[in-house]
């Protein structure tokens, strides 16, 4: 046994210290000695380690022209060290890929290749990658962890172009489909063709349901579409009645569903919390006044509010700058970069999911990882 320190037992070294490290630092620690390699490679350790990782927003990491594009996976994590004073470090770089969806430590990508456009799944921390050819005829609406089975699943909709031209491949029904990663079975039809309206909107996973905020611009005002991943059914939920238009996004705070709405003109962000889940009653929790460092709104802003490690993060992006603001409206940090088009978030994981090697074309530590 080679303990951390002659006096520090494994239960502290492994379960209190190593378990706090981000994947990059943890992988380095595996090279320290064999005991550490063994102890930090068990599934039990990695699952708890994943649970303790922060869920952080991903930035827009595209480099170069559409024809020759690379994608950096950059999360808003200052802990792992900054490349420069305000430049965040990339976790991984991929060649010719487009980032679509994220769930826990997994990313759904789409190849940029016009001739052979297909989906793929990857884990940037483990450098695992696999194409998803079984879903070629679909669009990916959402990804989620199915709780009772522990399976990662995709919510799909038949590719709209094909549906419009009535060219659904043989046996394919209109409506939602569910596909389990690593399964040999084709996507399973579950109905709900009317759910088409939400299929291409940003969504978030909250306590086993996928949520889409339809917004006041939508015909059905102020509602949230909910997909129950266990019952595999859709329903509506009341959204807060907002005072005016603005950029909104949903996130989770303190275990409760929360909505942030940014009033650009007034430079104020309202935070609404669904405190009464059963009766769908929202409460205005607080308002965040944006600091003076945020310029007057000129139509080219992006605002994202999220919660990570019990702290609310307000990100205001304009030009090539991202300002990070805390719940008191104080400027905390400035970064170079842009927010990703959708509010995608990453919670890094070194867990080796069993579905990866089961997928044909599976690679690790190879292209498209650069």
């Amino acid at each position: 046994m080679a303990p951390l320190h002659p006096g520090l037992p494994d239960e502290i070294a492994i379960w209190e210290i190593l378990i706090r490290l981000d994947p990059k630092a943890l992988l380095r620690c595996r090279a320290v000695c064999r005991d550490w390699l063994r102890a930090t490679s068990t599934r039990e350790f990695l699952v708890v380690h994943h649970g303790r990782q922060p869920t952080l927003p991903l930035l827009n990491g595209y480099n170069g022209d559409v024809d020759d594009q690379t994608l950096d996976i950059i999360s808003l994590d200052h802990q792992t060290g900054l490349v420069a004073a305000d430049q965040l470090q990339s976790i991984a770089r991929l060649d010719g890929m487009h980032l679509l969806r994220s769930c826990d430590g997994l990313l759904i990508l789409c190849t940029n290749n016009i001739d052979d456009r297909h989906y793929a799944i990857c884990n940037p921390a483990t450098r695992q990658y696999a194409p998803l050819r079984q879903i070629d005829d679909f669009e990916v609406s959402g990804m989620y962890l199915h709780r009772s089975t522990g399976e990662y699943r995709l919510l799909l909709y038949p590719c709209p172009a094909k549906v419009r031209n009535a060219e659904l491949p043989h046996g394919l029904h209109d409506g939602c489909h569910v596909f389990t990663l690593g399964s040999c079975e084709p996507p399973r039809h579950i109905g709900w063709p009317e759910a088409r309206e939400v299929m291409f909107e940003a969504n978030m996973l909250f306590h086993g349901s996928l949520l889409w905020y339809m917004g006041p611009e939508n015909i059905k005002k102020d509602i949230i579409r909910v997909f129950d991943t266990t019952a595999e059914s859709f329903r509506h939920m009341q959204a807060p009645v907002l005072p005016g238009p603005g950029e909104t996004n949903l996130f989770e705070m303190d275990g409760m569903l929360t909505m942030a709405s940014c009033n650009y003109a007034a430079a104020v962000i309202g935070i609404w919390v669904l405190q009464d889940y059963e009766n769908e009653i929202w409460t205005l929790k607080c308002q965040i006044r944006l600091p003076a460092e945020v310029p007057k709104f000129d139509g080219d802003w992006d605002v994202l509010v999220t919660c990570s490690d019990e702290a609310v993060l307000v990100l205001v992006a304009f030009g090539y700058k991202i300002l990070q603001i805390d719940i008191d409206g104080k400027l905390v940090a400035t970064f170079h970069g842009r927010l990703s088009h959708e509010p995608l978030r990453l919670k890094q994981s070194l867990v080796l999911h069993t579905f990866f090697p089961a997928l044909e074309g599976y690679v690790v530590n190879d292209l498209p990882f650069m």
Binding site: E16, R28, R30, E44, R127, S148, G255
Partner: protein, 247 residues
């Protein structure tokens, strides 16, 4: 993992051995002190009867302030006293106080008095603001999946809307924990033995922060670990996760 491991993958909150040892030692010590009428300590009574001569300590802060401080005995025999309010921060001491085993000297056999002084200093500073309920919630393990969550279960601490650090404890902690590695490890061990969650978190987070960005050889040096890989094995490992070893 040992048999006392929490099924959800976290360590047990306190070490059974340490608590039993402390209880037994404290009971033996107080048996020689002024006799207390209620010596049926076999069953820990949360609400003691009021008919005893000696008022049993209740684990509330107000009462604690009036009770005499606890006396801890370090490995070098030096006695260090700690107020009852500060002692609440130690899960072990809290249980001893609840079980009324805290009246006599309490041994801390693996902890040197210098370290014990530091630990007590931390507890005295944080003690007045300490809320055992809040800490319990924060310690909630992240369960491995598959997981059943109901909307009422919260796995993160509540967000505060006022200044989350009104008493300037964060800055104080930062100064407090700037210790040399050897002392830092001793403090961690002591916090582990006495089961002071917040101090254990502070210490281990500091160590984790120290490790980030360091090369494996640097980490080995700090923690005096021998490299038991062959050069080939180490090279293979580095190649497998090449990205982690860059810069």
């Amino acid at each position: 993992m040992d048999s006392t491991a929490d099924p959800k993958g976290k360590r047990p909150l306190y070490q059974e051995d340490g608590l039993a040892y402390a209880r037994a030692a404290a009971a033996a010590a107080s048996a020689t002190a002024a006799a207390a009428p209620d010596e049926e300590e076999a069953k820990p009574k949360p609400k003691p009867s009021s008919s005893s001569e000696e008022a049993k300590p209740e684990p509330e802060a107000e009462d604690q302030a009036e009770m005499p401080p606890l006396v801890l005995v370090a490995e070098d025999g030096v006695e260090v006293s700690i107020s009852r309010r500060a002692a609440r921060m130690s899960h072990m001491l809290r249980l001893l106080m609840e079980d009324s085993c805290a009246d006599g000297p309490i041994p801390a056999p693996n902890v040197h008095s210098d370290i014990l002084d530091l630990v007590v200093q931390y507890c005295e500073k944080h003690g007045p603001y300490y809320d055992p309920e809040a800490s319990e919630r924060a310690r909630n393990p992240f369960p491995p999946f598959p997981v059943e969550l109901t909307p009422t279960v919260s796995s993160i601490k509540p967000v505060t809307y006022v200044d989350p650090d009104p008493h300037g404890l964060k800055d104080w902690d930062k100064d407090f924990i700037s210790l040399d590695n050897s002392t830092l490890f001793e403090v961690i061990l002591a916090a582990n033995y006495l089961n002071i969650e917040d101090l254990l978190d502070l210490g281990t987070t500091t160590v984790a922060d120290m490790m980030r960005g360091k090369k494996p050889e640097e980490i080995r040096e700090i923690f005096e670990i021998e490299n038991d890989y062959t050069p080939e094995q180490e090279a293979e490992l580095r190649k497998e996760n090449a990205w982690a070893f860059e810069d």
